[in-house]
């Protein structure tokens, strides 16, 4: 617990100079590539993630997987070999990456309106270029942007954020890698911020259950903040495309 005290200084600043409830800088871009139906890039602090979406398209490969009432969502998470301090030998396929893929899938199917696309498949590929804490949230946010870019209907924005507890008392959000290894507990929340619903929750290490409400509350607030930033980026993107195409419509 003595380590935890260092996470936040007396004047309430964190190691990288942020305040407890401050997000890292988020920069994002939609529609990077022409080959996928949708693509996005997001930077949250130093964490950099690329996402590409293909589909909805005919189910390829194992056709028996196709569902008559909804689209199947296929997620693949991978980390570039150079994304971490040590060279990562297995960019995908180990237990942790498989777990990431599964969690990504679970969060996305809650947000995508899969029931609109029977017999189809949507592929979401995420690649972490630089891992500096909060990989999962960055992946979720990037995937959301890529899905919006692909014009795939979503219930609403799906945003994710991490939160931790400093000094066993002060909740803080958007945990960096440095803070992660210093050993505070980490709570990852993926939520639909507009309706305030939690879609995925993940926690490691331990803290007392009484702290959960406030940490969860702050994490959800973080999600809302992220949603506002993403919304701005999406609107700008639509505006840009719209004005180039002259808002042409089929009618």
């Amino acid at each position: 617990m003595s380590r935890n005290r260092e996470l936040i200084s007396n004047i309430g600043l964190r190691l990288d100079g942020r305040r407890a409830l401050e997000l890292r800088r988020i920069r994002c871009k939609l529609g990077l590539f022409s080959e996928p139906d949708g693509s996005a890039y997001i930077e949250q602090g130093l964490t950099k993630v690329l996402a590409a979406v293909y589909g909805p398209h005919q189910v390829r490969g194992n056709r028996s997987k196709a569902q008559h009432d909804c689209a199947i969502v296929n997620c693949q998470f991978s980390m570039a070999v150079f994304s971490t301090g040590e060279r990562k030998r297995r960019p995908r396929g180990d237990r942790k990456s498989t777990e990431m893929s599964i969690h990504l899938h679970q969060a996305l199917i809650a947000a995508i309106k899969v029931e609109l696309y029977p017999w189809s498949q949507i592929d979401v590929y995420v690649e972490v270029l630089h891992a500096d804490g909060g990989i999962y949230p960055a992946c979720v946010n990037a995937a959301t942007l890529a899905l919006i870019d692909a014009g795939i209907p979503l219930k609403e924005y799906l945003c994710a954020c991490t939160a931790s507890l400093a000094s066993n008392d002060i909740p803080m959000i958007d945990i960096s890698h440095q803070e992660e290894i210093m050993g505070g507990p980490t709570l990852t929340v993926a939520a639909l911020p507009m309706s305030g619903k939690v879609v995925l929750l993940e926690m490691s290490q331990r803290f007392h259950v009484d702290h959960l409400p406030k940490v969860l509350d702050k994490a959800l607030k973080g999600c809302i903040d992220i949603k506002n930033i993403l919304d701005e980026a999406v609107k700008n993107n639509v505006r840009e495309i719209g004005s180039s195409t002259g808002w042409a419509s089929s009618t």
């Binding site: 599964i102 969690h103 679970q106 929750l201 926690m203 007392h208």
Partner: protein
């Protein structure tokens, strides 16, 4: 092998279940927040236990060995957790495949036990950055009737709590591992006791059921697994599936889980304590208590013993004995003495040719040609092996083909 597909739940079953939930009823008559009964039994070995949660049953075994520690943590022992999904538990499980369920179960349990630092790994160190104990918890699922995770976490924790590692003493350079009979084995130091508690969520959080059965698991939208110790500290939390949940419901469930965790941990501790007392009193231990205590195998005892292990209800079956074979062996084997000759075939080889063979000698006849071939073989190998050691295998293959072609020729003649 075309495997049995995953158990799909028919629409009527699903609708019936949901309708029952609307009437505040569960199919097995439990209340929404009621858990199934936990039974913990211990095996004869240290760290072996069998836990059943209702009809779900798992077997856990802890083993230990000495390993070199990870370079990043030189003073810490190693803890590995592995849940194995056997086809014994459910027909769609495969012995080797690593599917999503497998990954998720293992990761969640790993987080619950390992990341929350429940086991004192530093006490497992024998010598810094040279020798540490590596603990391995194997959890085998014996019967899958929903909620493997809770059952596995209880089993893993009980097994760890029950386990004793052999004592090690340092004698200058050498380390002596004392057998169980020589010195009392040492229990594992456990800081806190976290268990997983799973709730299934239906209709976007309208109904929340504790400890889902297999059918309920199939119908549920999402699952909330809470890793919690008896001090009501969260040790891992996972909400996944197709969930949309209000945060206040979430907090409510975690509070409930806290109470449950206390009860479960108490039960684990009590079971282990009783077991240890039994051991001290030298009472019979192990799964087959009655079987071990009686000297002569008695049918009644065997039956009761097997009954304990019977999981599925008995079926009637037809008398299988009537289909048995009833053939008599008619032929007599003629005895014969071997008359063989051993021929020296050039340097470093010899051939054994049964004499009868020469009489039959259609394929294996020792014509001059054949003999030459046999003699040549080792020579070839010899020369090749002198030149290039890597190509022996190839040359041997070639030579084998040679002799075969020889054989073929003879047949054609």
């Amino acid at each position: 092998m075309s495997k049995i597909r995953e158990y799909t739940i028919s629409n009527c079953e699903k609708n019936f279940l949901l309708k029952c939930l609307k009437d505040q009823t569960r199919l097995d008559g439990r209340a929404f927040d009621e858990f199934r009964n936990i039974e913990i039994e211990f095996g004869k070995d240290y760290g072996c236990c069998c836990v059943s949660l209702g009809q779900t049953r798992v077997l856990a075994q802890v083993t230990c060995e000495i390993q070199v520690p990870k370079s990043s943590r030189p003073s810490e022992g190693i803890l590995n957790i592995n849940i194995e999904l056997n086809p014994i538990a459910a027909p769609n499980f495969e012995p080797t495949s690593k599917n999503d369920l497998f990954t998720q179960l293992n990761r969640t349990l790993e987080k619950c036990l390992k990341d929350s630092k429940a086991v004192d790994l530093e006490s497992l160190c024998i010598k810094m950055s040279e020798k540490v104990w590596a603990l391995r918890v194997d959890v085998n699922v014996l019967n899958h009737e929903g909620n493997i995770l809770d059952c596995a976490s209880i089993a893993a924790l009980s097994a760890l709590h029950h386990f004793r590692r052999p004592d090690v003493t340092c004698d200058g350079e050498d380390f002596i591992i004392h057998k169980y009979s020589q010195r009392d084995p040492i229990p594992i130091v456990i800081h806190h006791y976290p268990v997983c508690i799973t709730y299934s969520i239906f209709e976007r959080g309208e109904f929340i059921l504790a400890d889902p059965t297999l059918l309920e698991e199939g119908v549920a939208d999402a699952f909330l697994t809470v890793g919690m110790n008896s001090y009501k500290e969260l040790c891992g939390l996972h909400l996944g599936g197709k969930a949309e949940l209000n945060p206040d419901i979430l907090i409510q469930i975690t509070q409930k889980a806290g109470n449950r965790a206390g009860i479960v941990v108490e039960q684990i501790k009590k079971a282990v304590k009783e077991e240890n007392e039994k051991r001290l009193e030298d009472k019979s231990i192990g799964f087959h208590n009655k079987l071990c205590s009686t000297k002569n195998i008695d049918f009644e005892d065997l039956e009761t013993c097997f009954d304990q292990w019977r999981i599925a209800p008995k079926r009637k079956h037809k008398d299988t004995e009537k289909n048995m074979i009833g053939e008599t062996v008619e032929e007599q084997i003629q005895t014969e003495n071997f008359s063989v000759k051993i021929e020296k075939k050039g340097s470093q080889s010899a051939v054994l040719v049964p004499e009868e063979f020469e009489e039959v000698g259609r394929v294996w006849g020792d014509s001059d040609e054949d003999e030459d071939a046999v003699v040549e073989i080792p020579k070839k190998i010899q020369t090749v092996s002198l030149l290039d050691s890597d190509s022996e295998e190839e040359s041997t293959i070639v030579l084998n083909a040679n002799s075969q072609t020889k054989k073929m020729e003879e047949i054609t003649i």
